[in-house]
Amino acid sequence: MNDSDVKEILLEYIGGDLSSDREKELQTLLTEHGYTLEELDELREAYARLDDVPVPAPSAAMTENFYRMLEEHKRQATARQRRLDSLLAWLRNRCDRRLIARVAGALVLLGAGWSLGFWSAPDAHYDRRLDDVTAEIREMKGMMAYAMLGQSSPTQRIRTINQIRTCGSVDEGMVAILLNMLGDDPNVNVRLVALETLAMQADRATVRQGLVHSLGRQESPLVQMALTDVLLSLDERASISQFRGLLERPDLNDAVRARIASGLERLM
Protein backbone atom coordinates (compact mmCIF):
# COMPACT_ATOMS: atom_id res chain seq x y z
CA MET A 1 0.00 0.00 0.00
CA ASN A 2 1.54 3.30 -1.05
CA ASP A 3 1.31 6.73 0.59
CA SER A 4 -1.76 7.99 -1.27
CA ASP A 5 -3.62 4.72 -0.56
CA VAL A 6 -2.95 5.24 3.15
CA LYS A 7 -4.27 8.81 2.99
CA GLU A 8 -7.34 7.66 1.12
CA ILE A 9 -8.26 4.97 3.64
CA LEU A 10 -7.71 7.39 6.55
CA LEU A 11 -9.93 9.99 4.88
CA GLU A 12 -12.67 7.42 4.42
CA TYR A 13 -12.37 6.48 8.10
CA ILE A 14 -12.56 10.11 9.25
CA GLY A 15 -15.51 10.70 6.95
CA GLY A 16 -17.29 7.77 8.56
CA ASP A 17 -17.96 6.00 5.25
CA LEU A 18 -15.45 3.17 5.55
CA SER A 19 -16.92 -0.19 4.56
CA SER A 20 -16.28 -3.15 6.86
CA ASP A 21 -13.84 -4.65 4.32
CA ARG A 22 -11.92 -1.41 4.16
CA GLU A 23 -11.98 -1.14 7.94
CA LYS A 24 -10.31 -4.56 8.16
CA GLU A 25 -7.74 -3.29 5.65
CA LEU A 26 -7.11 -0.24 7.83
CA GLN A 27 -6.78 -2.42 10.91
CA THR A 28 -4.25 -4.63 9.16
CA LEU A 29 -2.34 -1.56 8.05
CA LEU A 30 -2.28 -0.09 11.56
CA THR A 31 -1.29 -3.42 13.10
CA GLU A 32 1.60 -3.71 10.66
CA HIS A 33 2.88 -0.40 11.95
CA GLY A 34 2.27 -1.22 15.59
CA TYR A 35 -0.93 0.81 16.11
CA THR A 36 -4.57 -0.01 16.82
CA LEU A 37 -7.82 1.49 15.62
CA GLU A 38 -8.53 2.55 19.22
CA GLU A 39 -5.43 4.73 19.18
CA LEU A 40 -6.70 6.45 16.06
CA ASP A 41 -10.04 7.01 17.78
CA GLU A 42 -8.25 8.40 20.83
CA LEU A 43 -6.46 10.91 18.63
CA ARG A 44 -9.72 11.96 17.08
CA GLU A 45 -11.27 12.34 20.53
CA ALA A 46 -8.25 14.32 21.76
CA TYR A 47 -8.77 16.67 18.85
CA ALA A 48 -12.45 17.10 19.72
CA ARG A 49 -11.59 17.83 23.36
CA LEU A 50 -9.50 20.86 22.35
CA ASP A 51 -12.88 22.62 21.98
CA ASP A 52 -13.23 22.61 25.73
CA VAL A 53 -10.29 24.95 26.23
CA PRO A 54 -11.87 28.11 27.69
CA VAL A 55 -11.36 31.35 25.82
CA PRO A 56 -9.35 33.90 27.82
CA ALA A 57 -10.98 37.27 28.28
CA PRO A 58 -9.40 40.17 26.37
CA SER A 59 -6.64 41.86 28.36
CA ALA A 60 -6.48 45.54 29.26
CA ALA A 61 -3.50 45.89 26.87
CA MET A 62 -5.65 44.54 24.06
CA THR A 63 -8.35 47.08 24.79
CA GLU A 64 -5.82 49.92 24.88
CA ASN A 65 -4.33 48.73 21.64
CA PHE A 66 -7.78 48.71 20.16
CA TYR A 67 -8.46 52.33 21.08
CA ARG A 68 -5.15 53.38 19.56
CA MET A 69 -6.03 51.60 16.32
CA LEU A 70 -9.48 53.09 16.46
CA GLU A 71 -8.08 56.63 16.41
CA GLU A 72 -6.37 55.83 13.11
CA HIS A 73 -9.45 54.19 11.77
CA LYS A 74 -11.72 57.14 12.46
CA ARG A 75 -10.18 59.02 9.55
CA GLN A 76 -10.73 56.22 7.09
CA ALA A 77 -13.51 55.80 4.57
CA THR A 78 -16.27 53.17 4.48
CA ALA A 79 -16.04 49.46 3.74
CA ARG A 80 -14.83 47.99 0.48
CA GLN A 81 -17.75 45.66 0.06
CA ARG A 82 -17.00 44.50 -3.48
CA ARG A 83 -13.60 43.13 -2.53
CA LEU A 84 -15.13 41.41 0.46
CA ASP A 85 -17.77 39.77 -1.71
CA SER A 86 -15.26 38.40 -4.17
CA LEU A 87 -13.14 37.11 -1.31
CA LEU A 88 -16.17 35.41 0.15
CA ALA A 89 -17.04 33.84 -3.19
CA TRP A 90 -13.50 32.54 -3.39
CA LEU A 91 -13.70 31.19 0.14
CA ARG A 92 -17.01 29.49 -0.50
CA ASN A 93 -15.47 27.66 -3.43
CA ARG A 94 -12.66 26.57 -1.16
CA CYS A 95 -14.94 25.30 1.58
CA ASP A 96 -15.98 22.14 -0.19
CA ARG A 97 -16.13 18.66 1.25
CA ARG A 98 -12.89 17.57 -0.36
CA LEU A 99 -10.98 20.33 1.36
CA ILE A 100 -12.54 19.39 4.68
CA ALA A 101 -11.58 15.77 4.05
CA ARG A 102 -8.03 16.74 3.09
CA VAL A 103 -7.56 18.92 6.16
CA ALA A 104 -9.04 16.17 8.34
CA GLY A 105 -6.69 13.63 6.79
CA ALA A 106 -3.74 15.94 7.31
CA LEU A 107 -4.74 16.28 10.97
CA VAL A 108 -4.80 12.54 11.47
CA LEU A 109 -1.44 12.12 9.76
CA LEU A 110 -0.03 14.93 11.88
CA GLY A 111 -1.46 13.28 15.00
CA ALA A 112 -0.08 9.88 13.97
CA GLY A 113 3.33 11.42 13.36
CA TRP A 114 3.20 13.12 16.73
CA SER A 115 2.31 9.90 18.50
CA LEU A 116 5.03 7.99 16.65
CA GLY A 117 7.57 10.58 17.73
CA PHE A 118 6.24 10.49 21.26
CA TRP A 119 6.38 6.70 21.58
CA SER A 120 9.59 5.94 19.74
CA ALA A 121 11.95 8.76 20.65
CA PRO A 122 11.32 10.48 23.98
CA ASP A 123 14.12 12.91 24.77
CA ALA A 124 15.10 15.88 26.91
CA HIS A 125 13.60 18.39 24.45
CA TYR A 126 10.23 16.73 24.61
CA ASP A 127 8.39 19.68 26.21
CA ARG A 128 9.59 22.15 23.62
CA ARG A 129 8.73 19.83 20.77
CA LEU A 130 5.33 19.20 22.32
CA ASP A 131 4.74 22.97 22.33
CA ASP A 132 5.66 23.14 18.66
CA VAL A 133 3.36 20.27 17.79
CA THR A 134 0.55 21.76 19.89
CA ALA A 135 0.96 25.02 17.97
CA GLU A 136 0.86 23.10 14.71
CA ILE A 137 -2.29 21.27 15.77
CA ARG A 138 -3.91 24.55 16.73
CA GLU A 139 -3.05 25.94 13.33
CA MET A 140 -4.52 22.88 11.67
CA LYS A 141 -7.62 23.29 13.83
CA GLY A 142 -7.95 26.81 12.47
CA MET A 143 -7.72 25.53 8.91
CA MET A 144 -10.22 22.83 9.70
CA ALA A 145 -12.62 25.34 11.24
CA TYR A 146 -12.16 27.47 8.14
CA ALA A 147 -13.31 24.64 5.93
CA MET A 148 -16.21 23.62 8.17
CA LEU A 149 -18.07 26.93 8.28
CA GLY A 150 -20.23 26.08 5.29
CA GLN A 151 -22.02 23.32 7.17
CA SER A 152 -25.72 23.43 7.82
CA SER A 153 -26.25 22.76 11.54
CA PRO A 154 -26.21 26.01 13.57
CA THR A 155 -24.78 24.12 16.56
CA GLN A 156 -21.87 22.98 14.42
CA ARG A 157 -21.36 26.52 13.16
CA ILE A 158 -21.14 27.83 16.74
CA ARG A 159 -18.74 25.03 17.60
CA THR A 160 -16.61 26.02 14.62
CA ILE A 161 -16.56 29.69 15.61
CA ASN A 162 -15.43 28.64 19.09
CA GLN A 163 -12.64 26.63 17.44
CA ILE A 164 -11.57 29.70 15.47
CA ARG A 165 -11.33 31.64 18.73
CA THR A 166 -9.22 28.98 20.41
CA CYS A 167 -6.92 28.32 17.45
CA GLY A 168 -5.34 31.69 18.15
CA SER A 169 -4.69 32.70 14.55
CA VAL A 170 -7.63 34.52 13.01
CA ASP A 171 -6.67 35.71 9.55
CA GLU A 172 -8.43 38.15 7.22
CA GLY A 173 -10.15 35.28 5.43
CA MET A 174 -11.74 34.11 8.68
CA VAL A 175 -12.72 37.69 9.51
CA ALA A 176 -14.51 37.88 6.14
CA ILE A 177 -16.36 34.64 6.87
CA LEU A 178 -17.32 35.77 10.36
CA LEU A 179 -18.64 39.07 8.98
CA ASN A 180 -20.62 37.11 6.43
CA MET A 181 -22.11 34.98 9.22
CA LEU A 182 -22.95 38.09 11.24
CA GLY A 183 -24.80 39.45 8.22
CA ASP A 184 -26.48 36.38 6.78
CA ASP A 185 -26.60 33.42 9.14
CA PRO A 186 -30.23 32.31 9.53
CA ASN A 187 -29.76 31.63 13.27
CA VAL A 188 -29.69 34.61 15.67
CA ASN A 189 -27.44 32.87 18.23
CA VAL A 190 -24.87 32.03 15.54
CA ARG A 191 -24.85 35.70 14.52
CA LEU A 192 -24.35 36.75 18.16
CA VAL A 193 -21.44 34.35 18.67
CA ALA A 194 -19.87 35.55 15.40
CA LEU A 195 -20.26 39.14 16.64
CA GLU A 196 -18.62 38.33 19.95
CA THR A 197 -15.66 36.72 18.19
CA LEU A 198 -15.36 39.66 15.80
CA ALA A 199 -15.44 42.12 18.73
CA MET A 200 -12.33 40.38 20.08
CA GLN A 201 -10.63 41.20 16.77
CA ALA A 202 -11.72 44.84 16.81
CA ASP A 203 -8.17 46.13 16.35
CA ARG A 204 -8.53 45.21 12.67
CA ALA A 205 -9.84 47.92 10.37
CA THR A 206 -11.80 45.36 8.33
CA VAL A 207 -13.61 44.19 11.46
CA ARG A 208 -14.67 47.68 12.54
CA GLN A 209 -15.77 48.60 9.03
CA GLY A 210 -17.64 45.32 8.74
CA LEU A 211 -19.44 45.82 12.07
CA VAL A 212 -20.53 49.35 11.12
CA HIS A 213 -21.71 48.19 7.71
CA SER A 214 -23.59 45.24 9.21
CA LEU A 215 -25.65 47.41 11.57
CA GLY A 216 -27.97 48.74 8.87
CA ARG A 217 -28.61 45.24 7.50
CA GLN A 218 -29.67 43.60 10.76
CA GLU A 219 -33.35 42.80 11.24
CA SER A 220 -33.22 40.94 14.57
CA PRO A 221 -33.62 43.23 17.63
CA LEU A 222 -31.24 40.92 19.53
CA VAL A 223 -28.42 41.38 17.03
CA GLN A 224 -29.20 45.10 16.65
CA MET A 225 -28.88 45.50 20.42
CA ALA A 226 -25.68 43.45 20.77
CA LEU A 227 -24.08 45.19 17.81
CA THR A 228 -25.10 48.61 19.18
CA ASP A 229 -23.47 47.73 22.50
CA VAL A 230 -20.24 46.67 20.80
CA LEU A 231 -20.05 49.78 18.58
CA LEU A 232 -20.82 52.09 21.51
CA SER A 233 -18.24 50.39 23.69
CA LEU A 234 -15.74 50.98 20.87
CA ASP A 235 -16.82 54.64 20.68
CA GLU A 236 -17.19 54.03 16.95
CA ARG A 237 -18.15 57.40 15.44
CA ALA A 238 -18.33 55.93 11.93
CA SER A 239 -21.53 54.21 13.06
CA ILE A 240 -23.42 57.48 13.72
CA SER A 241 -25.09 57.57 10.29
CA GLN A 242 -26.07 53.90 10.61
CA PHE A 243 -27.61 54.57 14.02
CA ARG A 244 -29.58 57.49 12.60
CA GLY A 245 -30.80 55.28 9.76
CA LEU A 246 -32.03 52.68 12.26
CA LEU A 247 -33.88 55.31 14.29
CA GLU A 248 -35.84 56.22 11.17
CA ARG A 249 -37.24 52.70 10.87
CA PRO A 250 -40.81 52.67 12.18
CA ASP A 251 -40.61 48.99 13.16
CA LEU A 252 -37.48 49.37 15.33
CA ASN A 253 -37.84 47.63 18.71
CA ASP A 254 -38.49 50.17 21.52
CA ALA A 255 -35.67 48.91 23.75
CA VAL A 256 -33.19 49.07 20.86
CA ARG A 257 -34.45 52.56 19.96
CA ALA A 258 -33.90 53.80 23.52
CA ARG A 259 -30.41 52.27 23.67
CA ILE A 260 -29.36 53.84 20.35
CA ALA A 261 -30.84 57.23 21.25
CA SER A 262 -28.91 57.40 24.53
CA GLY A 263 -25.76 56.03 22.88
CA LEU A 264 -25.90 58.58 20.06
CA GLU A 265 -25.94 61.43 22.57
CA ARG A 266 -22.73 60.11 24.06
CA LEU A 267 -21.05 59.55 20.68
CA MET A 268 -21.74 63.03 19.33
Binding site: L222, A226, V256
Partner: protein, 266 residues
Protein backbone atom coordinates in the same frame (compact mmCIF):
# COMPACT_ATOMS: atom_id res chain seq x y z
CA UNK B 1 -29.66 7.06 -1.56
CA UNK B 2 -32.89 7.49 -3.33
CA UNK B 3 -35.30 9.31 -1.16
CA UNK B 4 -38.94 8.70 -1.12
CA UNK B 5 -40.98 11.84 -1.15
CA UNK B 6 -44.33 11.83 0.45
CA UNK B 7 -46.50 14.86 0.13
CA UNK B 8 -49.42 15.06 2.43
CA UNK B 9 -51.84 17.82 1.96
CA UNK B 10 -54.97 18.25 3.92
CA UNK B 11 -56.64 21.20 2.33
CA UNK B 12 -60.07 21.54 3.73
CA UNK B 13 -62.50 23.34 1.55
CA UNK B 14 -65.17 24.02 4.02
CA UNK B 15 -68.24 25.87 3.01
CA UNK B 16 -69.98 25.97 6.33
CA UNK B 17 -68.97 28.40 9.07
CA UNK B 18 -69.32 25.79 11.79
CA UNK B 19 -66.95 23.42 10.00
CA UNK B 20 -64.27 26.05 9.44
CA UNK B 21 -64.04 26.74 13.16
CA UNK B 22 -63.07 23.23 14.10
CA UNK B 23 -59.54 21.93 14.57
CA UNK B 24 -57.87 20.21 11.63
CA UNK B 25 -55.56 17.23 11.96
CA UNK B 26 -53.12 15.39 9.71
CA UNK B 27 -50.81 12.44 10.23
CA UNK B 28 -47.42 12.45 8.53
CA UNK B 29 -45.66 9.08 8.15
CA UNK B 30 -41.85 8.90 8.03
CA UNK B 31 -39.86 7.26 5.23
CA UNK B 32 -37.65 5.63 7.88
CA UNK B 33 -39.92 5.21 10.92
CA UNK B 34 -37.23 3.80 13.21
CA UNK B 35 -34.74 6.61 12.73
CA UNK B 36 -34.57 10.16 14.11
CA UNK B 37 -35.89 12.99 11.98
CA UNK B 38 -36.19 16.75 11.80
CA UNK B 39 -39.34 18.87 12.02
CA UNK B 40 -39.18 22.37 10.52
CA UNK B 41 -41.98 24.86 11.19
CA UNK B 42 -42.12 28.58 10.51
CA UNK B 43 -45.38 29.55 12.18
CA UNK B 44 -46.79 33.03 11.78
CA UNK B 45 -49.33 33.44 14.54
CA UNK B 46 -50.25 31.20 17.46
CA UNK B 47 -48.60 28.77 19.82
CA UNK B 48 -46.53 25.68 19.04
CA UNK B 49 -46.73 22.70 21.34
CA UNK B 50 -44.37 19.83 20.42
CA UNK B 51 -44.51 16.63 22.44
CA UNK B 52 -42.40 13.51 22.05
CA UNK B 53 -44.36 10.24 22.13
CA UNK B 54 -43.86 6.53 21.44
CA UNK B 55 -45.30 6.60 17.90
CA UNK B 56 -43.45 6.53 14.59
CA UNK B 57 -45.29 9.25 12.67
CA UNK B 58 -46.15 12.90 13.24
CA UNK B 59 -49.62 13.91 14.32
CA UNK B 60 -50.38 17.57 13.72
CA UNK B 61 -53.46 19.30 15.06
CA UNK B 62 -54.24 22.92 14.16
CA UNK B 63 -56.87 24.78 16.17
CA UNK B 64 -58.08 28.33 15.55
CA UNK B 65 -57.79 30.27 18.83
CA UNK B 66 -60.60 32.74 18.22
CA UNK B 67 -63.98 32.59 16.56
CA UNK B 68 -63.29 34.48 13.37
CA UNK B 69 -65.19 36.82 11.11
CA UNK B 70 -68.39 35.89 9.30
CA UNK B 71 -66.77 34.18 6.32
CA UNK B 72 -63.51 32.81 7.73
CA UNK B 73 -60.80 31.42 5.51
CA UNK B 74 -60.47 27.70 6.29
CA UNK B 75 -57.25 26.40 7.83
CA UNK B 76 -54.85 24.93 5.30
CA UNK B 77 -52.50 22.45 6.93
CA UNK B 78 -49.78 20.87 4.77
CA UNK B 79 -46.59 18.83 5.23
CA UNK B 80 -43.76 17.69 2.98
CA UNK B 81 -41.65 14.74 4.09
CA UNK B 82 -38.33 13.69 2.60
CA UNK B 83 -35.75 11.47 4.28
CA UNK B 84 -37.37 12.00 7.70
CA UNK B 85 -37.18 15.79 7.25
CA UNK B 86 -40.63 17.31 7.56
CA UNK B 87 -41.58 20.86 6.65
CA UNK B 88 -44.95 21.94 7.94
CA UNK B 89 -46.99 24.82 6.58
CA UNK B 90 -50.06 26.44 8.07
CA UNK B 91 -52.24 29.17 6.66
CA UNK B 92 -54.00 31.61 6.54
CA UNK B 93 -51.23 33.67 8.10
CA UNK B 94 -53.44 36.33 9.65
CA UNK B 95 -55.41 33.86 11.79
CA UNK B 96 -54.16 32.87 15.23
CA UNK B 97 -53.73 29.12 15.01
CA UNK B 98 -52.44 26.95 17.86
CA UNK B 99 -50.49 23.87 16.78
CA UNK B 100 -50.21 20.67 18.82
CA UNK B 101 -47.73 18.24 17.31
CA UNK B 102 -46.80 14.74 18.43
CA UNK B 103 -43.38 13.57 17.22
CA UNK B 104 -41.32 10.42 17.85
CA UNK B 105 -39.11 10.87 20.94
CA UNK B 106 -35.82 10.97 19.03
CA UNK B 107 -36.47 13.98 16.90
CA UNK B 108 -34.85 17.35 16.18
CA UNK B 109 -36.91 20.51 15.74
CA UNK B 110 -36.32 23.88 14.06
CA UNK B 111 -39.14 26.17 15.10
CA UNK B 112 -39.84 29.79 14.36
CA UNK B 113 -42.81 31.83 15.46
CA UNK B 114 -43.57 35.43 14.56
CA UNK B 115 -46.46 36.32 16.84
CA UNK B 116 -48.89 35.51 19.63
CA UNK B 117 -47.68 32.34 21.17
CA UNK B 118 -45.52 30.27 23.43
CA UNK B 119 -43.32 27.57 21.92
CA UNK B 120 -43.27 24.49 24.13
CA UNK B 121 -41.13 21.41 23.48
CA UNK B 122 -41.35 18.43 25.84
CA UNK B 123 -40.24 14.81 26.32
CA UNK B 124 -37.88 14.95 23.35
CA UNK B 125 -34.28 14.08 22.51
CA UNK B 126 -32.48 15.85 19.68
CA UNK B 127 -31.22 19.21 18.44
CA UNK B 128 -33.68 21.92 19.37
CA UNK B 129 -33.52 25.23 17.53
CA UNK B 130 -36.21 27.76 18.49
CA UNK B 131 -36.69 31.41 17.58
CA UNK B 132 -39.77 33.09 19.03
CA UNK B 133 -40.28 36.78 18.34
CA UNK B 134 -43.06 37.65 20.76
CA UNK B 135 -43.46 34.81 23.18
CA UNK B 136 -41.96 32.47 25.74
CA UNK B 137 -39.94 29.33 25.02
CA UNK B 138 -40.39 26.34 27.34
CA UNK B 139 -38.34 23.16 27.08
CA UNK B 140 -39.46 20.48 29.50
CA UNK B 141 -37.78 17.10 29.99
CA UNK B 142 -35.55 17.37 26.92
CA UNK B 143 -32.19 15.81 26.06
CA UNK B 144 -29.60 16.77 23.47
CA UNK B 145 -28.79 20.37 22.69
CA UNK B 146 -30.60 23.67 22.16
CA UNK B 147 -30.20 27.10 20.59
CA UNK B 148 -33.00 29.38 21.74
CA UNK B 149 -33.75 33.04 21.17
CA UNK B 150 -36.69 35.30 21.88
CA UNK B 151 -37.15 39.07 21.87
CA UNK B 152 -39.91 39.70 24.40
CA UNK B 153 -40.35 36.31 26.00
CA UNK B 154 -38.90 34.29 28.85
CA UNK B 155 -36.85 31.14 28.24
CA UNK B 156 -37.34 28.20 30.58
CA UNK B 157 -35.39 25.07 29.73
CA UNK B 158 -34.96 21.91 31.75
CA UNK B 159 -32.50 19.34 30.39
CA UNK B 160 -32.30 15.73 31.52
CA UNK B 161 -29.04 15.15 29.65
CA UNK B 162 -26.79 17.01 27.22
CA UNK B 163 -25.00 15.88 24.07
CA UNK B 164 -21.32 15.89 25.15
CA UNK B 165 -19.10 18.49 23.49
CA UNK B 166 -21.93 20.48 21.91
CA UNK B 167 -22.26 24.20 22.75
CA UNK B 168 -25.66 25.77 23.47
CA UNK B 169 -26.98 29.34 23.50
CA UNK B 170 -29.97 31.08 25.12
CA UNK B 171 -30.68 34.73 24.41
CA UNK B 172 -33.54 37.08 25.29
CA UNK B 173 -33.81 40.83 24.90
CA UNK B 174 -36.42 41.62 27.53
CA UNK B 175 -37.30 38.28 29.12
CA UNK B 176 -35.78 36.17 31.89
CA UNK B 177 -33.74 33.00 31.39
CA UNK B 178 -34.19 29.98 33.66
CA UNK B 179 -32.03 27.05 32.59
CA UNK B 180 -31.71 23.76 34.49
CA UNK B 181 -28.64 21.63 33.72
CA UNK B 182 -28.24 18.00 34.74
CA UNK B 183 -26.00 17.46 37.77
CA UNK B 184 -23.35 15.63 35.75
CA UNK B 185 -23.24 18.16 32.89
CA UNK B 186 -19.74 19.20 31.83
CA UNK B 187 -19.79 22.75 30.58
CA UNK B 188 -18.36 26.23 30.65
CA UNK B 189 -21.41 28.32 31.54
CA UNK B 190 -21.16 31.91 30.34
CA UNK B 191 -23.78 34.26 31.75
CA UNK B 192 -24.53 37.90 31.20
CA UNK B 193 -27.48 40.03 32.35
CA UNK B 194 -26.81 43.55 31.10
CA UNK B 195 -29.49 45.16 33.26
CA UNK B 196 -30.60 42.28 35.43
CA UNK B 197 -29.32 39.87 38.06
CA UNK B 198 -27.65 36.47 37.77
CA UNK B 199 -28.25 33.55 40.11
CA UNK B 200 -26.26 30.41 39.48
CA UNK B 201 -26.46 27.18 41.51
CA UNK B 202 -23.03 26.20 40.21
CA UNK B 203 -21.36 29.55 40.91
CA UNK B 204 -19.92 28.53 44.27
CA UNK B 205 -17.32 26.55 42.34
CA UNK B 206 -13.91 28.19 42.89
CA UNK B 207 -13.28 28.25 39.13
CA UNK B 208 -15.82 31.02 38.58
CA UNK B 209 -14.22 33.84 36.67
CA UNK B 210 -15.38 37.16 35.36
CA UNK B 211 -14.28 38.97 32.24
CA UNK B 212 -13.42 42.68 32.58
CA UNK B 213 -16.28 45.10 31.98
CA UNK B 214 -16.12 46.75 28.60
CA UNK B 215 -15.65 50.44 27.86
CA UNK B 216 -19.33 51.35 27.98
CA UNK B 217 -19.67 50.11 31.55
CA UNK B 218 -21.96 47.24 30.59
CA UNK B 219 -22.23 44.03 32.56
CA UNK B 220 -19.33 41.66 31.88
CA UNK B 221 -19.62 37.97 31.09
CA UNK B 222 -19.34 35.63 34.05
CA UNK B 223 -17.79 32.21 33.49
CA UNK B 224 -18.52 29.15 35.60
CA UNK B 225 -16.89 25.82 34.92
CA UNK B 226 -19.15 22.87 35.73
CA UNK B 227 -17.66 19.45 36.47
CA UNK B 228 -14.27 20.43 35.11
CA UNK B 229 -15.59 22.38 32.12
CA UNK B 230 -16.78 21.53 28.65
CA UNK B 231 -18.45 23.23 25.70
CA UNK B 232 -19.60 26.81 26.03
CA UNK B 233 -23.17 27.42 27.25
CA UNK B 234 -24.01 31.02 26.51
CA UNK B 235 -26.85 32.65 28.50
CA UNK B 236 -27.58 36.32 27.94
CA UNK B 237 -30.52 38.57 28.68
CA UNK B 238 -30.25 42.26 27.93
CA UNK B 239 -33.07 43.47 30.22
CA UNK B 240 -34.10 40.36 32.14
CA UNK B 241 -32.57 38.15 34.82
CA UNK B 242 -30.57 34.96 34.37
CA UNK B 243 -31.08 31.88 36.55
CA UNK B 244 -28.95 28.73 36.26
CA UNK B 245 -30.19 25.69 38.16
CA UNK B 246 -28.73 22.35 39.07
CA UNK B 247 -31.26 19.60 38.31
CA UNK B 248 -30.92 17.83 41.66
CA UNK B 249 -32.46 20.85 43.42
CA UNK B 250 -35.74 20.23 41.67
CA UNK B 251 -37.06 16.76 42.16
CA UNK B 252 -39.96 17.43 39.88
CA UNK B 253 -38.06 19.87 37.72
CA UNK B 254 -40.40 19.45 34.79
CA UNK B 255 -43.19 21.12 36.69
CA UNK B 256 -41.30 22.98 39.39
CA UNK B 257 -39.38 25.35 37.13
CA UNK B 258 -41.00 28.74 37.20
CA UNK B 259 -39.64 32.21 36.72
CA UNK B 260 -40.40 34.49 39.65
CA UNK B 261 -41.01 38.04 38.61
CA UNK B 262 -37.82 39.29 40.17
CA UNK B 263 -38.18 42.69 38.57
CA UNK B 264 -41.18 43.54 40.70
CA UNK B 265 -39.49 42.31 43.87
CA UNK B 266 -36.67 44.85 43.70
Amino acid sequence: MKAAIAIISAVMTLSLLAQSERAEQITVPLSRPDEPGVLIVHHHKGSLNITGYDGTSLVVKASPRYASEETPQPIDLGAVEKDNHIVLSVSPRHRTIDLDILVPRHFSVRLKNDDSGTIRVQHLSGEIEVSNLNGDIHLIDVAGSALLDTVDGNIIAQFTSLTPGIPMAFTSLEGNLDITFPTDARALVKTRADHGRIRNDFASAPEAETSPANGAGLAPWTYTRINGGGPEMRLRSFYGHVRVRRAENDENAATAVTIPDERSST
